[in-house]
């Protein structure tokens, strides 16, 4: 049982048909029963979907569009990357959600019961985790995740919000042979290997605090902070004028909410002409936001990877959801190549996201992932 059971592939060919053929060529092991892919939104998705169905017609396949790919060669754009799972050590089953707003607890329970019963590996108890791929512009992640999490029970989960190359227009999730919007895929992964689901960020709080005094929760929009125009108040804290604010400034100076002892980043999606701020996550009147300060992103990753390696050894693969704002930050600081090398060295395959998911939480500006170790669980325990 020492045969390879995780296979990776990527193609930068912009022709969907040729790109998928290249993937198929790299994922030709007959034991592969499931393929998870991440593709740039720049592909002609209709053609890409057709090619995927054609090349992988006899196995399970799911994926989503990205705001950048993490491939076997590190950071890419305009490409497609994929992971093939061997049925020797993995069973992957996909649950599909086609209308995020109408997803009830009843739906969640039915879906998960089905996934649990289908997701079996001979002579092994369920040792699994769930991956969620959600439409990244649906603004329904929080409620969808809370509902799903109630039914997931003790199964660890993580995931990402699909991206669209930072166009902020439409993001797609692929399942049941099609690309969908207002949708989510829930992948149940059962494996014989040790694994660890984790999340990390490298931001520390400053003393600057804001209270949201006027919010439009249905639009994730904040009109006022501290009873002043949101953009003005934010710019003041940064000792800038509102005119000087842009997406890069927001990326480097994110806001966060503190719950318990933890800070959760709430990323700004855009500065609106009316000086309001739109976020990548839910907002509410009366919540307190803290201005955050980035520390060293690379160091944080290195510490994280060292910790994982000490617990489960060098992973054979890390399936990672890396916020696209982190990649942007690295680019702004001229560190993107180094981060790319770090991810590559630690066998990360994944995507740049419009938001990450961890244990039912919708979070921003994090690296959230699963590391799958080389050691199989002792099956007799």
């Amino acid at each position: 049982m020492n045969a390879q059971s995780i296979f990776t592939a990527s193609s930068s060919n912009s022709d969907p048909e040729l790109a998928v053929k290249e993937l198929k060529h790299q994922l030709n092991d007959p034991s592969i029963q499931f393929v998870l892919f991440f593709c740039s939104a720049s592909f002609n998705l209709a053609k890409l979907g057709y090619a995927l169905n054609e090349q992988f017609h006899d196995i399970g396949i799911s994926g989503c569009t990205t705001a950048g790919e993490i491939t076997p060669n590190g950071y890419e754009r305009g490409s497609i990357t994929a992971i093939g799972f061997s049925n020797q050590d993995f069973c992957v089953q996909v649950g599909s959600v086609k209308n995020l707003k109408r997803f009830t607890l009843g739906n969640a329970q039915t879906m998960l019961d089905q996934l649990r019963s289908q997701c079996t590996l001979s002579s092994a108890a369920l040792n699994g985790f769930a991956i969620t791929l959600v439409d990244g512009l649906s603004i329904d992640e929080e409620i969808f995740l809370a509902t799903l999490n109630s039914a997931l029970g003790s199964i660890p989960s993580f995931g990402g919000s699909a991206g669209d190359d930072v166009n902020l227009a439409t993001t797609h999730v692929f399942f049941d042979g099609d690309f969908h919007t207002d949708a989510a895929a829930v992948l149940m992964v059962n494996t014989r290997f040790e694994f660890e689901v984790f999340t990390t960020h490298h931001l520390l709080p400053t003393d600057n605090k804001f209270v949201v005094t006027d919010a439009e929760p249905q639009n994730r929009k904040v009109n006022e902070l501290n009873a002043d125009l949101a953009a003005t108040e934010y710019a003041d804290a940064l000792e800038l004028s509102v005119d000087q604010l842009n997406n890069d400034i927001c990326t480097l100076n994110p806001l966060a909410v503190k719950i318990g002892e933890q800070y959760f980043i709430r990323s700004i999606q855009s500065i609106e002409p009316d000086s309001s701020l739109t976020f990548f996550c839910a907002m509410e009147n009366g919540i307190a936001l803290t201005l955050m300060q980035p520390k060293d992103l690379k160091e944080n990753l290195i510490d994280l990877f060292n910790g994982i390696e000490s617990r489960i050894g060098k992973p054979q693969i890390v399936i990672g959801c890396d916020c696209f704002l982190r990649r942007r930050e690295a680019e702004l600081k001229g560190e993107d190549q180094q981060v790319s090398e770090l991810l590559k060295a630690f066998n990360v395959i994944g995507l740049n996201t419009y938001g990450e998911q961890f244990s039912g939480m919708h979070i921003n500006q994090t690296f959230t992932a699963v590391a799958i170790g080389q050691r199989r669980l002792n099956e007799s325990v």
């Binding site: 929080e142 005094t213 994730r220 009873a227 719950i259 509410e284 009366g286 244990s359």
Partner: protein
């Protein structure tokens, strides 16, 4: 304070009021509303934190659970081992006991047929009865150990119920009479798919029990059709079984408190065997009972429809008893000298000419195989099996001699092997009546 300072302070004050307002609003919305996206997020965070705390506790509990699970499975292994040993022990003991018992019974039968005075005659009768009891107990132990070992399988064929009930009635009428009870039976003309040997054994146990636990009144054995099922029932007018006891009567070594100890020869295994056989046969067994009135044990078997009934009944249960063994040449091979001796006495008494051998070696020199009418071999010989020996002897002989294999081994596969060779089979200990019938069949 200047006017501008005052304006600024008022403006600041208005801002703080608004912030205060927003905070109060947020605080007062308090309870988690899952329909609200931010609250849903907050709820998930709290949940995740609780999960982290509980995961530790859970992991510790899991660790303990694993430990006790390991201990339990070890204990379970030991228990299974012990159970297996028990089963093996019982099988071995039963086998080793059946051998000498077989010899004792043959001697007793021979003795009983000698002209004797009344006093020795009654002693021999008592001895024969005691031997019967020993055999029945032993048989019960063998049955239980085999049922427990899971080596008993139903060999189902299409059978008629009536002859089975007739046979059992004949058998138990005398026993009931002896116990001062009435015995009735009511049969019906149905065919069922079952194993006749196991079915008879099951009913025999029920009837034995019914007679054992009934002091006055009677026992009824009845078969009647109910829908597409056949209901075979054993009714008695005994003490009855309380609701409480009905649950446990099928347990091993369970004897009812109202059993008459002085006359009770059972081990309390009868109903346990009945239950186990019913399971092997996949027939439904139920009991209804009223204290002081009596009990009804019912066995439910699906009835075959007319189309499935065989054209005619192939196996008459009562073979003719008329032919004689007079002057027949019988060769007995058994590695146990006592058995050889006992067989020789019994068969000689029945009028046959008997030659015996411990191993069948050099037999061809001693006797003319051509003149042998019947070969009786023990399956367990010191070297090889009785089957192999019989085949060798048949090859040496020019004519086809009927072969009767005698064994204490009740295994199904052996039965099959013997049947395939075209040999006849009897199990030890031999029952004189059955033995004599079989000899007549083979020689007739």
């Amino acid at each position: 304070m200047s006017q501008s300072e005052l304006d600024a302070a008022q403006k600041e004050n208005a801002k703080l009021r608004k912030i205060n307002q927003a905070l109060i609003e947020r605080l007062e919305s308090g309870a988690v509303q899952l329909a609200n996206p931010y609250s849903a997020f907050e709820h998930s965070v709290t949940l995740a934190e609780q999960v982290r705390e509980r995961t530790d506790a859970l992991n510790q509990a899991l660790e303990k659970l694993n430990l006790s699970h390991r201990e339990l499975s070890q204990a379970n292994q030991v228990a299974e081992q012990a159970n297996l040993s028990k089963t093996k022990f019982l099988a071995a003991v039963s086998h080793d006991l059946l051998q000498p018992l077989n010899a004792a019974r043959l001697f007793a039968t021979t003795l009983a047929e000698q002209p004797l005075d009344d006093r020795p005659k009654s002693l021999v009768d008592s001895m024969t009865r005691s031997l019967n009891d020993v055999e029945n107990l032993l048989r019960t132990l063998v049955d239980i150990s085999k049922l427990d070992a899971g080596v008993v399988h139903a060999d189902k064929t299409n059978i008629r119920v009536a002859p089975i009930l007739e046979q059992l009635s004949t058998e138990f009428e005398a026993a009931a009479q002896h116990a001062g009870l009435k015995f009735k039976h009511r049969t019906c003309n149905a065919w069922v798919h079952s194993d006749s040997l196991l079915l008879i054994r099951l009913l025999r146990n029920l009837l034995t029990n019914a007679i054992r636990y009934t002091k006055t009144g009677g026992v009824l054995l009845s078969a009647r059709q109910r829908g597409d099922k056949l209901l075979i029932q054993v009714w008695d007018t005994g003490e009855g079984i309380s609701q409480e006891d009905q649950k446990s009567i099928f347990d091993e070594f369970k004897r009812l408190p109202n059993a008459d100890k002085a006359h009770d020869k059972g081990l309390g295994l009868g109903l346990s065997i009945v239950d186990k056989i019913a399971k092997v046969l996949n027939h439904t067994l139920t009991v209804t009972s009223t204290l002081g009135k009596g009990s009804v044990f019912s066995l439910e078997i699906p009835i075959l429809n007319r189309a499935q009934e065989p054209a005619n009944d192939p196996s008459p249960l009562h073979p003719s008893l008329s032919s004689s063994l007079q002057g027949k040449q019988i060769l007995v091979v058994d590695n146990d000298a006592t058995i050889c001796e006992a067989m020789s006495q019994l068969l000689t008494h029945w009028g046959a000419n008997v030659a015996t051998s411990l191993n069948g070696e050099a037999l061809g020199d001693k006797i003319d195989l051509g003149s042998v009418d019947l070969l009786i071999v023990d399956y367990h010989l010191d070297q090889g099996t009785g089957i192999d020996l019989a085949k060798r002897l048949l090859e040496q002989s020019s004519i086809d001699i009927p072969v009767l294999v005698v064994t204490a081994n009740h295994s199904q596969s052996l039965n099959e092997t013997i049947r395939q060779e075209g040999f006849s089979l009897l199990h030890k200990p031999l029952k004189p009546l059955l033995f004599r019938q079989r000899l007549r069949q083979l020689l007739g």
